[in-house]
């Protein structure tokens, strides 16, 4: 098979849109979730994120990367204001609505894309009613990435709601059976099909 190579100089010279597609593809398949927030007046916001990652289990921490705050970023502003947010997994039966939250709406995305607000426990920020796995998080830490002005938000998981038929005896959640989907690049959505679970890796004794 023929292979293509781009060195630093060639990457630098790529067309901007082409480079955006290419670089966004290179991190592999990504987590996908709708982030629910609200401002202090109660106006809600819903935004699709793919830069979400596991930070730790003890305490239970999740990281969320937000673009620079140079244009209005309601999610970032809302999280900084209320110090809480929700993470809602996406299924294929509402992935088009989830994708539509990426447009620049003047009103709350909940009002226009066809997904519904739900309020759980003591959280004053909205969860997505249609979602099957929902996390309520409190902001713990904000880190600024100097290299490009993005902001990394660290949230602590304070509430977990999920369909218990996908929760296995060891705590593993079968996301594939649950219908959680994944994304590659900017706009390519995918189901998964399991290859297998592997046991904890140990060195082979000679």
């Amino acid at each position: 098979m023929a292979s293509t190579q781009f060195n630093a100089e060639e990457i630098e010279k790529l067309d901007k849109q082409y480079r955006t597609q290419l670089i966004n593809s290179l991190t592999g398949f990504k987590s996908l979730a709708l982030i629910g927030t609200a401002d202090v007046s109660g106006k809600t916001n819903l935004s699709l994120f793919s830069q979400i990652f596991h930070v730790g289990a003890h305490p239970p921490l999740i990281g969320l990367l937000s673009r620079p705050n140079t244009v209005p970023r309601h999610t970032l502003e809302n999280i900084l204001e209320k110090e809480s947010f929700t993470i809602n997994h996406v299924k294929s039966d509402f992935y088009e609505q989830a994708h539509a939250t990426s447009a620049r709406w003047d009103v709350s995305e909940f009002a226009v894309v066809g997904l519904h607000e739900e309020y759980l426990d003591s959280f004053s920020v909205p969860f997505v009613k249609e979602s099957h796995i929902k996390l309520g998080c409190e902001l713990r830490e904000v880190l600024d990435i100097q290299s490009n002005g993005t902001h990394l938000l660290i949230g602590e998981i304070k509430l977990i709601t999920l369909d218990d038929s996908f929760l296995e005896d060891d705590g593993f959640v079968d996301l594939e059976a649950a219908g959680t989907i994944t994304v590659s690049g900017l706009d390519s959505y995918h189901h998964t099909s399991k290859i297998g679970r592997l046991p904890y890796a140990k060195p082979i004794k000679k």
Copy 2:
């Protein structure tokens, strides 16, 4: 469908292993890649990571989360020493070898798991010969996450090598056709099946 809810107090009380499995599942499907490094003496290391994420395309930046440096973390130490590392996508035909790098080996993982070193361009750190999408990165920034002592490494992509049959006209890389796999939880590996690509989201004009 019955749903299960865990509040903060219940999460806190979960058995440690159960909580590790549960929290690791909640971020959704994750990026998966082998990180290739070397120390100054030339001893190589290969380690499987799932906490890899897109940071930006201009400049081309990738983030990598490393656990605290309280036990030997060769990948972290090597990256801090040589300020460069490689990211190598994983296919199903070598995912068991990739998983085996997670064990605590005294020698280089390359010597024992059956994957081979490859050196490209001016990089003095090893790429994985068997991998179909390989990135050479230089360390740009290190951020310390106070909440749990993990370290976030930001790398700039300086070299991209991939099979050109998976590179589309707009720069999108068809990772599914290329055979890149994804992971959920700690140990569950998955192929993907495409749902579709969606056009750039725009508000609906009334």
